[in-house]
Amino acid sequence: MYFFFFLFAIVGVGSAIMVVTNRNVVHAALYLLLTFFCVGATYVMLRAELLAAVQVLVYAGAVMVLFLFASLVINIPRALALRQWNRQSSVAVVLAGLTGLWIIIATSSSFGALTAGDGPLGTPRAVGELLFSNYILPFEIASLVLLAAMIGAIYLARSTAIEAERTRSESETTPANTHDV
């Protein structure tokens, strides 16, 4: 048990560091995929089977496809030539490291006494019953959020293309009309 936890934790943290320090966007996306799988494996160890499946489907499936698609759009040789870190980076690393150290010390001194319950807690049936009884209103709101995000993403990504298409078709049709007249 300890062996698998440390395996997934070390691989997950190492590939997360590779995500942040990598120059190439596609390599960073693939390391991010490895981190998602390690976190999903940790969900299985925490007996959250449904969420492990959702993690693999949503993050490793959908979100990763979005990231790879976006990295196809940007110019990778130009991105590699760019200076990767901004001016505040050393201060940011020191402050974030101190904050992380503080979080780790505080949590390990406060929650060390909690012992785990046994038994499968996060089965799809149990989570689904709770989700569709007590949390039905947040569930509906989440579906509205997803719908709004879908419409917004389509609008943002396509609006410039549609405008370019419209101006091109107008400039093509206008001479034809004058010719007819």
Binding site: G12, A16, Y43, V54, G97, I104, V127, L156
Partner: protein, 100 residues
């Protein structure tokens, strides 16, 4: 049985790495990936508390966070594409339209 602080430390490390990525990188896509790392760390913390307290509400909350994270990734990457079409840049330091 693995103690709870181990999972919390794993989550805290992922969170801090994500925060460092958001604060220091100049590439927009990598900043969005770091935001996904932060959300994953929070999900991991919620699920470990849910397991150790034997309370399913943490897992239900995690489902909502995953829904919000998916929509955030979709809208964020659409913004990246729109930004790249408009300004031909993916460098966050060059996006200073609101700066005066």
């Amino acid at each position: 049985m693995i103690p709870l602080p181990f999972y919390l430390t794993f989550g805290a490390l992922l969170f801090i790495i994500g925060v460092i990525g958001v604060l220091t990188r100049r590439n927009v896509v990598i900043v969005l990936m770091s935001i996904e790392l932060i959300l994953n760390a929070v999900n991991l913390t919620l699920i470990s508390f849910s397991h150790y307290l034997q309370d399913l509400r943490g897992q239900v909350f995690t489902l909502f966070i995953i829904a919000v994270a998916a929509s955030e990734a979709a809208v964020g990457l659409a913004l990246v594409i729109a930004l790249y079409r408009g300004k031909t840049t993916f460098n966050l330091d060059e996006v200073n339209l609101l700066k005066w």
